[in-house]
Symmetry: none
Subunit: 411 residues, 2 copies
């Protein structure tokens, strides 16, 4: 079972938009055992679209097409598909009423352009778009399936997850693949590779290991091939890995650090608040990105100026003057005070130098102090030295802060 991915959009060819859609689709296909032969990115050009579809259909069973389905004049995918499949457009009542509902729910009214979204190719099966106006289109010709989806990532992703992948799994007998991802944090990739080298070497032939690093964490994906029995083999391998890595493993598969920490708080019925300086509210944002987080998250004081540290968090000005605001003393004080100020069971406090400026020889860009406190246990704190990239420093400090809390609760 082979697939091609065809991304359509002039904006991709001038590099204005990074083609994350094709990687996302490739990842999903890989997970269910469909091999991607080729990813082709072309412009909103009739001739290119026609030629690319023809070429791809010679080598692949399924062609995933994204982009060019919008309501405006530069979106030409739909008419070109009609030409390719030698079909015409028809008006679809159901799509019209979905677009109508979508538009009116947002306080808009139907106009020529979004009415045009209800015109669909006669020979296509319609894939509903619950969160946008362009429906997906499913064609079959000469034993090849062509699936055309909008280029807006979240619309395409929802369509794939809710409709297209289930349809493909129904229609085809796919090989058996089982994936399990182990989420680790706190150990850099190269050190991790050495730490688990012996374990990796003794993995059986039917199991593949992949390292997936991102700022502050490395995911280890185990893929097992064959049949159902590989599941217990992988489970036994993970038990061995737990003995080696201990609490550097924070979760599995689609867990995120904020979900793991949220579940821990929920299970012990405790609340959390944060006092953030260099992360600027990013830890609060991560925690509140989880639905239902209002059950355990009380709030945050983002103290981007020292005045807020002294006025809101009641840090004595002398403590800041003597130690600097990026110090063990200040973050521990912030964390302890926050427990009463925001009336929470656990607190996180962060202060650091995100960069690119503000560093000194003693306290360089990338230095971050993080403290965690609770009403029942002693405050703990740790100093981190990240790199010189502002975005990555904020991300890594946020992950490290949530991880410090995770270990603090678990121990």
């Amino acid at each position: 079972m082979n697939a091609d991915i065809v991304s359509i959009g002039d904006e991709l060819l001038i590099g204005q938009v990074v083609n994350t859609n094709s990687s996302w689709i490739a990842r999903q296909l890989n997970l269910i055992g469909i091999k991607v032969n080729k990813i082709v990115t072309i412009g909103d050009t009739r001739q290119e679209i026609l030629e690319t579809l023809k070429e791809s259909s010679a080598n692949s069973n399924i062609i995933f097409i994204t982009g060019g389905l919008g309501p405006t004049s530069d979106d030409i995918t739909k008419p070109v598909l009609c030409e390719y499949f030698n079909t015409s457009l028809r008006f679809d009542e159901e799509v019209f009423s979905m677009v109508d509902q979508f538009v009116s729910k947002r306080g808009g009214t139907m106009n020529e352009l979004n009415r045009g979204q209800a015109m669909v190719p006669v020979s296509a099966k319609i894939i509903k778009n619950k969160i946008g106006t362009a429906p997906g289109l499913w064609f079959e010709k000469g034993g090849v399936i062509y699936i055309s989806m909008p280029g807006v990532p979240f619309e395409m992703e929802a369509m794939m997850m809710e409709s297209i992948l289930p349809l493909i799994k129904d229609q085809f007998q796919l090989p058996f693949i089982f994936h399990k991802t182990i989420l680790t944090t706190g150990i850099p990739e190269s050190k991790l590779a050495i730490t688990i080298e012996k374990w990796e070497k003794q993995l059986s032939e039917g199991i593949q290991l992949a390292y997936l690093p991102s700022p502050g964490m490395v995911r280890l994906r185990l893929s097992g091939f064959g049949n159902e029995t590989i599941k217990s083999t992988i489970s036994a391998e993970i038990d061995k890995l737990k003995m080696i890595l201990g609490n550097a493993i924070y979760g599995y598969d689609s867990d995120t650090m904020e979900i793991v920490v949220g579940n821990l708080l929920k299970s012990c019925n405790k609340t959390l608040a944060t006092a953030e300086s260099c992360t600027g509210g990013n830890v609060a944002r991560l925690i509140t990105s989880v639905p239902g987080s209002s059950d355990y998250f009380r709030g945050s004081i983002v103290a981007y100026s020292n005045e807020i540290k002294t006025n809101q968090l009641k840090v004595p000005i002398d403590l800041i003057n003597n130690n600097g605001s990026v110090s063990k003393e200040v973050v521990e004080f912030m964390a302890i005070n926050l427990l009463d100020i925001l009336n929470c069971d656990y607190s996180i406090a962060i202060s650091g130098i995100a960069g690119p400026t503000g560093g000194t020889i003693e306290k360089p860009v990338g230095m971050v102090w993080i403290a965690v406190a609770s009403k029942d246990k002693n405050v703990v704190s740790e100093k981190f030295l990240f790199g010189d990239n502002r975005d990555r420093n904020i991300t890594r400090a946020s992950v490290a802060a949530l991880n410090l809390l995770r270990i603090y609760i678990q121990e």
Copy 2:
């Protein structure tokens, strides 16, 4: 002058790595007037590489190839290029000594694998790699140029900037292209298209328009071809567009809403703070993602529980009980109080129902109230109705809040 980009690597076809190289190359080529026809991503497979190069050479003058030049056995680009160009490998003294220096500088010693990096195709011109071990290769055949580069982004980028782009600019007379992107917010794509339909139709033939939507905003890209005079034509078209869209235009090109708002605050030497409920600190995070934001951003109170609204933001409990915490009355109170509490010139307050739960018929998921206040002007507030996706509601509420502040300051 046309180019194809060919990315080689199995990791790209399983979605393990997002292909940022091709967007980066496309962006650089676009800037110097080279049109990218097609971006093709294939695996480390001899047959695929040979076929793709043959096909691309039929349509393009230059082919940029990345990936597969590493020292390990899965990297086959170099031998396959030798086959394609009917040439063999030779030992290159200069490359050898560069690799040797590179390796020993990092405390390593030369081994079989990195010694192999000094073997280069006889018919290729060598492009030095100052920050890695794989040199770039420049071939010419049948009037087409083929440039093979390593897949490590920073090695490829350095090679392009220092050697390859200057060589191309020397060798070819490139056409003139000028791009200008207009950033709009607050008008959905389909309504925007109708609003500017007449303007779009009167654009001269040498100018192309593209719509680039993302949550809460639509970017309009104008591309002009011909010569330098197109710049003033585009500038005049933008002036007309300003008359139509007014303050729905918030910036140009690489601006972001948080940069625009930051520049406004800097230019009037004013400070800002936020009081956030449903956005959970995301507005603070956006503002502080901009280097130097500590000059104008004081901080935030993320009031995820009503208790923090009453205790920290001093909102009377009766006001919440009578109006609900998602109401005009409460956000205006929060915004006004914040001015004194965090001692700032401008304030933003946000309260809403991000979802997926917590909605009612009167106040559905996606309803968000936003207020902006200052010490000199009246408080203003606005009700928004977004959708039912938590992440996008948070994103759109954050963009809307910054936009409300932008308009408030500008008026």
